[in-house]
Structure formats: C-alpha cells, structure tokens
Amino acid sequence: MTKASKLNRVSPKTNTIFSVIFIIFALVCIIPVVFIFIISISSEASIKMNGYQFWPEDFSLDAYRFLMGEGKTILQSLGITILVTVVGTILGVLLTSTMGYALSRKDFKLNGFFTMIVFIPMIFNGGMISSYVVNTQFLPLKDTIWALILPLCVSSFNVVICKTFFKTNIPDSVVESAQIDGAGHFTIFGQIALPLAKPMIATIALFLTFGYWNDWFQSSLYITNTDLFSLQALLDHIQRNIEMMTKNPALGVTLQQYINSMPKEGARMAMAIIIIIPIACTYPFFQKYFITGLTVGAVKG
C-alpha cells in the first residue's frame, strides 16, 4: 500500500496551514541549536567581553581545533558509544519485544505474575549503591563495556508500550488461526508479530538508541579505564577538567597560561554540537519505519 490516493487528502488550504504551523515549530526547535553553534564558533575573547551573543564580534574555529587536539580520545569514545548503542539497542529490542508479546496474550497463565515482575521495578528502585554493589560484586561488570550496556537495555516503560501495541494490533484471532495451523509461539512471534510491529520496533529502537547515546552516568559509576568512556562521559570530563584547573592557583603560571589559551566557553558549546549532530542524523534512518500501509489484513489473507 502506498500513500493515500489523491482523493483522500486534506484540502490544499489545510495543507498550507499545516505546513506553516510546522515551519514555526521547526524554527522554534532549531534556533537554540543554531545559537549554540554560533557560540561554538565565537572567539573566546568576544565571549569573555560580551557574553553569549547571537552575532559575536569575532569568529574563530579555535574551539573545534582544541577538540581536534583531543581527537584520538574523542574518536575512541565515539567508537565505544556506537558499539554500546548498537549492541544495546538490538539486545534491548529482543528482550523487550519478547516480554511485551507474551504479556499481550490474554490466555497466558502466568500473565499476571509477569505483569507484576515488569510493574514493580517501574515504581521501586533499590538505589544507586545497591545496584552498584550487585553489578560489581555479584556480577563481574566493573570496568567492562557490559556495565554500559546491560543495565539500560530493558525498561518497563518500553515493555508496556510493546505489550499495548501487540494487544492492539495482533488480534487473538490471528494468533489462534496460526496455532491451529500448528505454529508455536516462537514461530508466531518471529514470523507474524515482529514483521507487523515494525513501527513499534522502530519506536523502541529509537528510544533505546537515544537513551544509550545520552548516557554518561554508567561510565561515571563503573568505568575507570579511559578507553571505555562513552562520548558524553568523556566530553563531560574534558569540560570539568578545564573548569577545575582554572580554579586552582597552585598550578603555576605556565600551566595557567596554557589553560588560558584554551577556548573554554566555545569548547563547551562545541561539545554540545558534537553530541547532537551525529544522533540527530540517525533519526531519518528510523523514520522509514513509520510508513503507513502494513496491515493485518494482508496477513489474514
């Protein structure tokens, strides 16, 4: 099924109104990002004198040059973040969708029990320290990449979304007819439910991807090995290190002058841009799953 036929569209006038509304929204969303970008290419001197401006007195690429200097570590942590995001997303989608599927089956005897298993952690949390203790003393996760992946791959929020989707879009009749044909749940899940749920999978994958991309807390809690820092964690460290060094009079003149030559404010914004751009560019990749037209009806036939 392709897009709706020309007969079933809104009027051109409505389309224009919608477009205008969206242009306004898009501008409101994008202007702050542009502002941050402009700061990142402002010269440090003009920031010091005039603060943040939409049109600074002087432009300079120093902030990016400075970050290029840290290029090797940034690339390393970018690699880590990408690896963690991809593995975590795939793992998360599998774990989440299986649970969501099972919970959507009303005739599953343990439905109530597993609903509780999913519901309770949504509300109650043992706290940072007990999680840390379990993950480092009970499970061998300290200073490993799995500490960045495993604790975040499932969220009850996502499981509930999955469950609702499957419940709404995979009617019992379809499942029953497949079972009559002799298919077990594994088959039904893999061959019927998942393909039909592409938009929902894309949604969960999107949430997981963004969750992993934005995470810095796991690194800060579990990682000492500098090779394993995620991108957010690394950039946060660079930022803080600059701040702390400048506050310390004991470091001596030459070190202070060195620090002073760093484009601190610009670098802070440049780092924000580095975080935003790659991940925003992956969104179109998910978008293609939000296309109209996959119908249950086709499977019915």
């Binding site: 007969l7 952690p121 379990v134 495993l150 989707f165 709404t168 077990g184 749940h185 938009p199």
Partner: protein, 320 residues
Amino acid sequence: MGRKTIVQRRKKGNKWTKSDSQLTILILPTTVWYILFCFLPMFGLIIAFKDYKVTGGKSFIYNVFNSDWIGFKNFEFLIKSNDLFVILRNTIVYNLIFIVAGTILAVGLAIMINLLYSKRKSRVFQTLMFFPYFMSWVVAAYFVDAFLNVDKGLINNILRDTGQTPVQWYMNVAVWPFILVFMYLWKSTGYNMVIYLSSITSIDQTLYEAAVIDGANKKQQTRYITLPCLKNVIIMMFILNVGKIFYSDFGLFYQLSQDAKGSIFNSVATIDTYVFNALKSSTPIGMTSAVTFFQSVACCITILIANAIVRKIDADSAII
C-alpha cells in the same frame, strides 16, 4: 489427544498448555535480566529505614543488615518541611499540565504531520523537531539566559530600546509557570510524537478506504478512525506518565531556572530540587533513600488508582 480447537481447549479450565511453556521460555532471558538488575538490588530499599553505618572490612550487605532500624526518622525532614505543600503542589500540578498539554500537542501534531502532502517535508520537520531532545538542560539554560538575562538578554534589550523598564525575569515568580511549560513542550514534543506516529502508521488502511467510500471527509476520518485507534496508546501513555507524577525532570526545574531559588521558588521548586538543596553530601544516605521511597510509594498508589479507573471504563485499555 485428538485435534481440539482452541476454544475447546480453553474451556477445559486453567490447565497449563504447551503454549504457556513456549511463552515462558520466550521470556526467560528478559526475566533473568529483571532478576539481576532490578530485583536483586531491591534490598537497598530498606536503607530508607535504617541508620546506615559502615563497619571496616565488611561488605555492603552486611552493613545494611547490621545497621539500626530507625523507623520513619529519615522521612521526618520532608514531612516537617514548611515548603512541603509548595513542592508537592508544584510537582503534581506541573506534571498534570505537562501530561495534558503534551499529549494534546503530540497527538495533534502527529496526526497533522501524517496528513501533509509532501512526505519529504514531513520527514524534515520531524527531524528538526527532534533536536531539542538532545540538548542538555544545561545548554538550554544558556539559551534561555540569552533571552532573560537582566543586563544582556534579548527581551530586556528590546524593552530598553522601546523606553520601558527592564524586568528581573529570574526574580519574577509569575512568568515561570509559562516559561517552564513552554520549555517542556519545546524539548519533549518531538520525542513524544514518535509513539503516536508509529501508532498512526499501524492503523489498518482499509478502514480509511471504507470510510472514503462512505463519503467521510478527512475531519470525520480523523474523528472516527484515527482517534479511536489511538485510544489505547493515549491511555497507556497517560497511565505511565501518571506513574511518574511525583518525580520531576530535575534539569528542567533546576538548571533552567538557575537553581530554583529565591523569589521564584514558589513557582519552580519541586520535590527533587528541594531535596537536592536540602541534602548535602554530608547527609546520611538513609535520608535520600527515604525521599525516593516516598516518591515510589506515592507513584505506586496513583498509578494503581489510575489503572483501576481506566479498567472500570474500558478493561482492555488498562495496562496492569
């Protein structure tokens, strides 16, 4: 055992079937995950009721179980706080506004964006509307400051140029509800739209075709097909969000308002910002744990109530 139909099999009562075993095995990995990462650490909840002390050389678990019980003492500071009413009110009311306004906006925009002629334009708009989600609140706060700064902000510059007196925006308690709601919507609409977008694309197209044949226009189609099909998802999101109603987005309330204090406290303080300011690193961990426990229990009650109400109206939409 001959080939029985599903209906007959089910009528046999609550017997464990092969189908059940299959489902159980299917979700075994996920269950293991829950046990390891959610249920094992849950013993930490009791720290809220303990006067936590460390004994040298002993493990955390030993320390937790060996510390004294002090009942509800860790909860006292929150209960006795003079600002309790303000922070509770702010947390709950803001969340309600966010839920209602956020849902209306996200659903509305999702429907609208799906109706645009040019799919390419709709993709571009969607992508652009996602950018705010990636800006941390710290960075967003710089942007807001560029507008609201009393000396150098854009708004005050305009006021000065037009001969009016500049306003101390960060000390003006009345404007902050609007600023906060606006900024919340700015940041999360793109993100919230995704769920509704994917739901809309899952709607059976044959329904629309049948409606067109019956002579329905777009508005009627939306009202009688799209919205009802979204009903489950909207209710699900509503219940899930109600389940977080005692929590607040710390970055939004704290960093955007430059530390949620002073003259704007009454508009901006929530449970989380209050606790952040009250409990310094020197406070016993039992007190932080107590606050989380309080929020958890409160949320548990609200989500169960919300779920029960929904169940009475439409049993299928309830999520528990």
